[in-house]
Symmetry: C2
Subunit: 315 residues, 2 copies
């Protein structure tokens, strides 16, 4: 038997056929068209899934269940998307709608939680019971695994670690609070600080690397310039790692997971990011140096974590 | 059968005989004498427990097990206190030592975790699976209950929510970080701010209430003066509630517990504290207004939470 995992995003719908060993047999993808009516999006989700099954060269009879990873808040027990900001869905019975097209059990879960489950079952946190997966992207996605299972609290809305205030009264966040971790340690925050520094420091390599064009600045720019010795960029990177470390230290003091997995584009900076980050955390965590603490690792499944985690969903 | 719960504190050792229904039959207490050798403290713990059993008018044969709630970091599986700052214990095999005096199974757990278990089984969080107990005292104690059990991570050192930075780079904390929640929302923080305001505002009622004597200022002073209409005190209380709210909102966004219980002396301010606190949290939590969110309640067991929770400890 195989499992279908669907990663529903603001930009694209990705579906994969996943083996019981968590390998992806085949994938398919199409644009979400997020502004469309929800029924069209769900029909496209079903078609993308059917396409993946065909690509895998198997029959639908060999599929046991379908899992959907969705942004926003999800009501697992009702199989609904309660609220998804960037896909314009509110209280939509997604699982029921999906079964109109594919007559299989359909499960749904928050996308960051799916990614965490994927890494826990088949990726960087394989073999440990308690882990946290942090995805650094436009925002900060996060999923918490406790005892091998997704933990999201009594209402399924927990593990929103990006919306933990670390600078009370600080930069305004999309959630309405001021000073959320996401406003200091996401890709968006890094780009904001890089643009600010480029303006204030015309001599910085940042400006050369982007041909003086601010719109070319991305979450990699400051890291690239810092590695080439640019002091302005080094300061941006240092501050970014400090804020990233503040949040992860908070998470460790609260959850004491065995492994913290970092995903998203920024995690590709590898040891240049991870090494000083580990140092910061080791210096600031509540437990003394002699107490074992979380291992900080890069994601192993990358963009596939969401598909694999969704495929693993069950009752 | 009955259970003994011991609450080991920096100031006193408290022991109670607890029924299976979580009622306390009898209690006994003596000073900790924290600077003494650990073996003397443990002998006194045993004697206090024996005293409580005698007061209860039962025999030791009717005791099933002993639980100890200890400050600091505990190694449950080894029955050891790994590190307790204010009792000068490091890697002490407390459970084994206790069994020299009382031949019963002995269990140990962090004291804040015991208080959380007590409230969960028999207090303000009775009947729900996921809860968080916050004790506002000298510091901020915290315990997390998930699925009816104490959650403390892979190394047993988790749920240290007081050491979550909410003001990066802010007030220095005893743990070495800057800007921990504990440095803004504990009794100590409240007293610090009250003293500061009393000095800067000689006309404030705070000074009258304490006969101009700073050493009379306690965690109740600002609340008392604020209730009498003093503007300076009102500002202290407002700021305190804001910082308390920032931390609890972070906890809700992370854990989404069904109930958050507030304990410690400051929680006796009741609705004067809780009502604006709930308003702040409702405005700032990540989930939308229509999503159910944690109920914020005052502790029901008060100082007995630790004894009852310790008595509930088992393998």
């Amino acid at each position: 038997m195989y499992f279908i995992g669907i990663d529903l995003g603001g930009t694209s719908i990705k579906a994969g056929v996943v083996t019981p060993e968590c390998a992806i047999l085949a994938k398919s993808q199409r644009p979400t068209g997020a502004c469309r009516n929800y029924s069209e999006i769900i029909r496209d989700m079903a078609e993308t899934a059917i396409e993946a099954v065909q690509k895998a060269g198997i029959g639908m009879a060999e599929i046991k269940s379908i899992g959907i990873g969705s942004p926003g808040t999800v009501d697992k027990s009702k199989g609904m998307i309660s609220y998804a900001n960037n896909i314009n869905m509110r209280n939509v019975a997604v699982c029921k709608e999906m079964r109109k097209y594919i007559k299989k059990p359909v499960f749904i879960e928050n996308d960051a939680n799916c990614a965490a489950l994927g890494e826990s079952e088949a990726g960087a946190a394989k073999g440990v019971k308690d882990s946290v997966v942090i995805t650094l992207g436009t925002g900060i996605g996060s999923g918490v695994i406790i005892g091998g299972e997704i933990y999201s609290g009594f209402n399924g809305a927990g593990a929103e670690l990006g919306h933990m205030v670390i600078v009370s009264g600080g930069v305004e966040c999309t959630c309405g609070r001021k000073g959320c971790w996401e406003s200091y340690a996401s890709g968006t925050a890094l780009i904001r600080e890089t643009i600010k520094a480029a303006i204030n420091n015309p001599e910085s390599l940042i400006n050369k690397l982007t041909s003086q064009n601010m719109s070319h600045i991305n979450a990699k720019t400051a890291f690239d310039a810092a590695k080439m010795g640019d002091k302005t960029a080094k300061k941006i990177v240092d501050d970014f790692i400090m804020y990233l470390g503040e949040g992860i230290t908070n998470i460790i003091n609260a959850f004491q997971p065995e492994i913290v997995v970092l995903g998203g584009g920024i995690s590709n900076e590898g040891e240049y990011l991870l090494s000083p980050l580990r140092e910061f955390i080791d210096e600031h965590r509540y437990t003394k140096k002699e107490t074992p603490s979380a291992i900080i690792k890069k994601s192993e499944l990358g963009n596939d974590a969401g598909i694999i985690g969704a495929a693993l969903l069950k009752n």
